[in-house]
Each structure stands twice: as structure tokens, then as C-alpha cells.
Symmetry: C2
Subunit: 315 residues, 2 copies
């Protein structure tokens, strides 16, 4: 995977799977299927290690269920950090398991810090071939936060370019209060629009043969009207679009995030997919997998139909 | 520790130690003393586990050297995440070691996300008594990023108040590009000033007998003129002030961050302290400790002298 431009890998896998979906692996222990929790408690007890075992088993079940239907998974660090070192062990084992199945992994971490620390974060997620103490490990891309300004983003951009990994810089997030700072108007547009300009300039430094860059943006599904503006402001950036599903976004809300080539947006859903089995009272391994796979198929279809209806479907 | 208001604990410990310093535990493997690296390589080899062993040994050396001179340490997550699960294991062992020595711990993580995820992050760092799967662990306070707006901050604030822990919300950071977004002017002041107003409103919800709140702010040492403005805007908030030392700040640059009672600012230095031994070519355990302790004493003295010269020293 290391030698191909990140955006080209993404576009090629999306085409292969006919899916623009990103599945968030954000497991919550109380909602993990009971038969997994029972096994975890029996083996390791109720502790970080037991929880980490349960989350890994659940993630592997999910990945097995969806690997043929989607190209990308997005494990959110917060849900693993709860269980300390054992949780992080499960995080990296999940990354490894997904990558071995041919899935691309976005680490949703929203990191951001001054340059020396940003460098350390980038080396944490993208690996550090010059540090002989680090055991090799690497995600395919990472979400980062722009509040600290350009010198905090630059180390991530440089490492993403040199390591063929990707970045999604927060521009406009999907939550109800996202506008508190992001929508504030200045004499050069909103704060989010200013960040979009930064992203676009970074993006121009590393465009692949797909026409897309390794430097992308997070643009929430819950603000469809703004997606058009951001799409025009960052034509070469892949958009990671959270907010589909549990947060309220539907297929028709996210079509503006795509370019006319039918690419450019990765639509993310987490809870509505990985906990789909709860609504159907699935109680066996196979039933849980079936519910999850079915939810992904419905999501893929919803997005593909919406794109087809406006002539943006590429397959 | 759990029953006393965070800010009251901080102020009481600062008074006891006669020190406003926060020592950043940001270890970089290449700069760890040679005799520690040799032991780590011999025991575990050059891998995540070996690095984690070296960082923990170095941190324990530092903590032993400074425990009588300072009240607070601030391990930065990025430097531990590089080594995966083993690094996080060292992180929490460092937190535990420091707390057992009576030091308060600020987790410098700069986390921030939508509400459900912010909740998960808060439970990662402040513990979760309602989750029987989580092995208990807890830092004393946490740095967080405001870019996602109020609904992303609220879960942290609620948990900090209910768990007697503290928060430092990024307002104005110490890095050269901090102004890219933070200094942008709006019709209601700069972005940083708007965040300061949010912080002040949160702070009013939980003021201790010291007069200080569990909700504080990060305000960099490298912008002394602005400290006065922020001090007035957030009178009840403790300021975490990075940028002293390696980043260029001196004692005279940070006096504006204090209130007239001689409290309210926690002055943070990392590399200039923990790597102080490099300049003196210290090569034994005792020499390294001595250099580090001496650097802390110089820092304490620099800050205390600066405060005395303007009549703000409380001891």
C-alpha cells in the first residue's frame, strides 16, 4: 500500500466496491452483543483487558460482515482510550485486521498541537521509519484540528505527502454547535471558509492521478447547503462527511459534497450501522453480521440512488 | 484527592511548594540518558516495549528529582502514542507514579469532538464510575480544543465539575502561527476573545474557595501583551501558560497571566527542564537528576523574582 498515492488508493477502492461509505468503528461496551461480552467476562473479567477483548472481537465481526461492501473504516480513538493500554492495543489490532482485509483505515483522532508535538502525533499514526525504537504501525489517514494554525498543520501535511497517507482537516463539523466558531464571519468569509482556503493550498501540493489530493477536509452531512460552497472552494480535496445516519443526514443531503465525476466524498456512518442488530433483536453471531451487512447495503444504495438521480453516479 | 475542588488543590499545592511551575513530561527517545537506553535495549530490545520502558524509567527519574520543587506535571500524549499500547501503558504508569508522589497531573491531549465522542474522551481521562468494565484511572485535568463549539465542550465541563477534575480550554496558544485563526477579528473581538468568553461562562459554574474555577484556559507565554486582556476576561480561570523556556518565554513575560493575589497562572516548561542535563554532559543517574532539579530551581526563582518585582508574590 505504501507506494500508491492515498487519494488514488481511495478512489480505486471506492470504484471496486461501488461504495462511498465509511464505517465508523466506535464500539460502546454496553452495546456490544451479549454473547461477546459473556465470553470476554469469562476469559478476562470486567476490566480494561476484558473490554478490549470484547471490542476487538466485535470489530472483527463487523469487518468480516462489511469487507465486501465497503472500502473504508474509521475507528474513533476516544472509544478505545477509555480502556487505556489494552484499548490502544485493540485499536492497532483492529487497524491491522482491517488493512489485511484490504480496507483503508482513517484514524479519527482530531489531533492538533504545536509543531514539535504535531510531528510526534504524525509519527504516532503514520509511522516513523527513522525511529528504530518504534514497532512499525501505520493507518492510512488521520483527522486533524486546525485551531492552532498553519505551523501546527504543516508537519502533518509533510508527513502525509512523504508517506503516501492522507489527512482530513476539520473545516465544518456535523454537530449542532459547530457554528459557534466555524460560522463566525470575518472580513474574508467565515472561519470555516478560511480553513477551507488553507486546505485547498495544502491540497495543491500533492494531487494524485485521480485528480484528488492527500489533503482532504471534514465537512458535515448536516449542512447540505454549505457543502456546495466548500466543494467549490476545495475542488481537489476528498471530503470526509460525518453526520449521516444517527446524526440525521440522508443520501439526498450529501450529494453536494461530490464532484461531477461522482467522486470526492466519503460518507461516514457509525452507530446506525454497527448497532443495526439491536433493532432486529439479533442474538447470534450470524444474525448480528447479517443485520450489519444489510444496514451497509441500505446505506450504499441510498447514497448511490441519490447520486444517480442527479447524474453523478460513476458505475 | 477526589473530594477537593480541582482549583483549590492546585492553589494549595502551589503555595506549599512555592512554585508556579508545570513540568512537561515530553520525553523523546533519542534524548533519554544513554544509561537508560542501554538498559532498555538489553532488557526488551528496540521496539515499542523497550522504548516504553526507557520513557517510564526516565520519567520516574525526573519525578524523583523534582517532586519537592514543583506541584504539577504535564505529560503530553503525543510522545507516548508513538509507541502504541506500550506507550500508553507508560503514560498511565507515569500518571500513577506522579500522583503517588503527591503531584497533580495535567494530561496535555488537546482533545475535542462531537458530544458523544467528547463524552468518551472525558471518561477516558477522568474515569467512569458507571462503567464496570473500565479499570479505574484518572488524571487531575485535561487540555481540550474548542474548534467544534459549545456542545463539544459541555460534556468535558460537566464531567470535570462532577469529578473534581480540571480543564484547560485552548484560547491562545504559544506557537508562531497561533494567530492564523485565533487572532482573526470578528464583530465581537478576536476568535480567541470569543473563546475566552465561553471559558469565563463555564468557569462561573464551578468556583472553589480559592476563588478559582475548575475550568481554565491555555494562554501562551509568547504573547505577554495579550495575557493582560485574557486575565481580565477570565478572572476566575487558572491559566496554563506554555511557551516558557525553549519556546522563548521568560519570567518577566508571564507576570500578566497572574492575578493580583499572586495566583492564577501555571507556567509550563518541558524540554528546557527535562533535557537540562544535556548541556552539562551529565552521565550518571545522580548527575542527570541534579541538572534537572537545578533547572527547575532556576525556573522557580525566575518566576518568583518576576512576581516579587511587581508585588504579586504570595510567600
Amino acid at each position: 500500500m505504501g507506494n500508491v498515492h492515498f487519494a488514488d488508493r481511495i478512489c480505486s477502492e471506492i470504484k471496486k466496491k461501488k461504495s462511498h461509505a465509511v464505517i465508523g468503528l466506535d464500539p460502546i461496551i454496553e452495546r456490544v452483543p451479549k454473547f461477546i461480552l459473556e465470553e470476554a467476562e469469562q476469559k478476562l473479567g470486567k476490566c480494561d483487558e476484558g473490554a478490549a477483548f470484547a471490542l476487538l472481537t466485535f470489530n472483527q465481526l463487523i469487518i468480516d460482515a462489511i469487507e465486501s461492501e465497503v472500502a473504508i473504516v474509521k475507528p474513533q480513538l476516544a472509544y478505545y482510550e477509555i480502556y487505556g493500554a489494552a484499548g490502544i492495543d485493540t485499536y492497532w489490532k483492529t487497524v491491522d485486521y482491517a488493512q489485511k482485509k484490504g480496507l483503508l483505515v482513517i484514524a479519527d483522532a482530531k489531533r492538533g498541537d504545536i509543531d514539535s508535538t504535531a510531528n510526534a502525533y504524525a509519527r504516532s499514526f503514520f509511522g516513523d521509519e527513522f525511529n528504530e525504537w518504534q514497532t512499525p504501525k501505520k493507518v492510512d489517514s488521520l483527522t486533524i484540528n486546525p485551531y492552532l494554525g498553519t505551523d501546527s498543520l504543516e508537519p502533518f501535511v509533510q508527513q502525509a505527502i512523504s508517506k503516501n497517507t492522507g489527512l482530513f482537516i476539520l473545516v465544518k463539523t456535523s454537530n449542532p454547535s459547530s457554528g459557534d466558531l466555524q460560522d463566525v464571519l470575518t472580513h474574508k468569509g467565515s472561519i470555516a471558509e478560511r480553513v477551507a482556503k488553507l486546505v485547498h493550498n495544502y491540497a495543491l501540493r500533492d494531487i494524485g492521478t485521480s485528480g484528488y489530493s492527500s489533503v482532504g477536509a471534514v465537512v458535515g452531512a448536516t449542512y447540505p447547503a454549505e457543502q456546495q460552497i466548500f466543494r467549490e472552494a476545495m475542488p481537489h480535496s476528498l471530503f470526509l462527511v460525518p453526520g449521516y445516519g444517527t446524526q440525521g443526514g440522508k443520501g439526498k443531503d450529501i450529494t453536494n459534497a461530490f464532484n461531477s465525476d461522482g467522486f470526492g466524498a466519503l460518507i461516514s456512518a457509525s452507530r446506525s450501522i454497527i448497532f443495526a442488530f439491536e433493532q432486529e433483536e439479533a442474538s447470534t453471531f450470524e444474525q448480528v453480521q447479517l443485520s450489519i451487512r444489510q444496514a451497509v447495503k441500505v446505506m450504499n444504495n441510498d447514497i448511490n440512488m441519490a447520486l444517480r438521480s442527479i447524474g453523478k453516479l460513476d458505475w
